[in-house]
Symmetry: C2
Subunit: 116 residues, 2 copies
DNA sequence: TTCAAAAGAAACGCTTGCGTAACGGTCCGT
DNA sequence: ACGGACCGTTACGCAAGCGTTTCTTTTGAA
């Protein structure tokens, strides 16, 4: 059961969610960081720097830096892979799950407010 | 007729749209810039720096800088208000309308792809 | 055992956004 | 006509992200 949106609803939803997120959340993650965060939490693990870089279509340092930032915020965690110690496995955190849960609620709330 | 979303659909939609936007669009507007852009195009004019700052809950220089950036990209335009020459009225552009139209299409497309 | 390849991080210089504070132009009541 | 209030911009020092390049560790095959 897909989500059917009119053009007005689509942009209106993005508008009100962005607006509310700007007003409420001081963190102001970039679009890239948000895409990485959602990828980590919505797609089955394991996640690696290399894999995320390929999925996003960006270079590896972009992922490393984003993980630095979001790690400092407690939204993700990094653990060395013992199978292949060159790899780093990105782990979810309770804070990260909570953050996205609240963000999901925001989207749902704003979706309900879209007219037409 | 509001938009009813499950938690999975809400985050999934944001996920796939962000991902596609990162892959396709090199501009990478910040969340603030996107919120400003949508405010300008979805809410009836006139728009001023002061008004946008109040709506977004940010300071005026934030708006000025965002307008600098998006102006250079051709997404918005600025015109002095002849009624009160202290004011600057923010104008929409053809390029900006086109940009948001494509973005809206992206949201609609990704919405259709959300399961459940 | 040796060595090229791979993964992630760190280093480099640059660009862009931030918050605060100060500034120049404009309006309007006195 | 003067002075305060208002509007948007600019200046300043700082923090964070970017792309490219280099480095370190680890792996696996010759």
């Amino acid at each position: 059961m897909p989500v059917e949106l009119t053009p007005s609803q689509a942009l209106g939803l993005w508008h009100t969610v962005s607006l509310e997120q700007v007003r409420v959340d001081g963190r102001d993650l970039t679009l890239r960081q948000m895409a990485i965060l959602l990828q980590i939490y919505l797609v089955p693990p394991p996640h690696t720097v290399r894999g995320l870089a390929a999925t996003l279509g960006v270079t590896k340092p972009v992922i490393t830096r984003a993980l630095d930032t979001m790690g400092a915020l407690g939204l993700v965690d990094r653990v060395r892979d013992d199978r292949d110690r060159r790899n780093v496995v990105i782990k979810r955190t309770v804070d990260g799950a909570l953050y996205l849960e609240k963000f999901g609620d925001l989207i749902i709330d704003q979706g309900r407010k879209q007219p037409k």
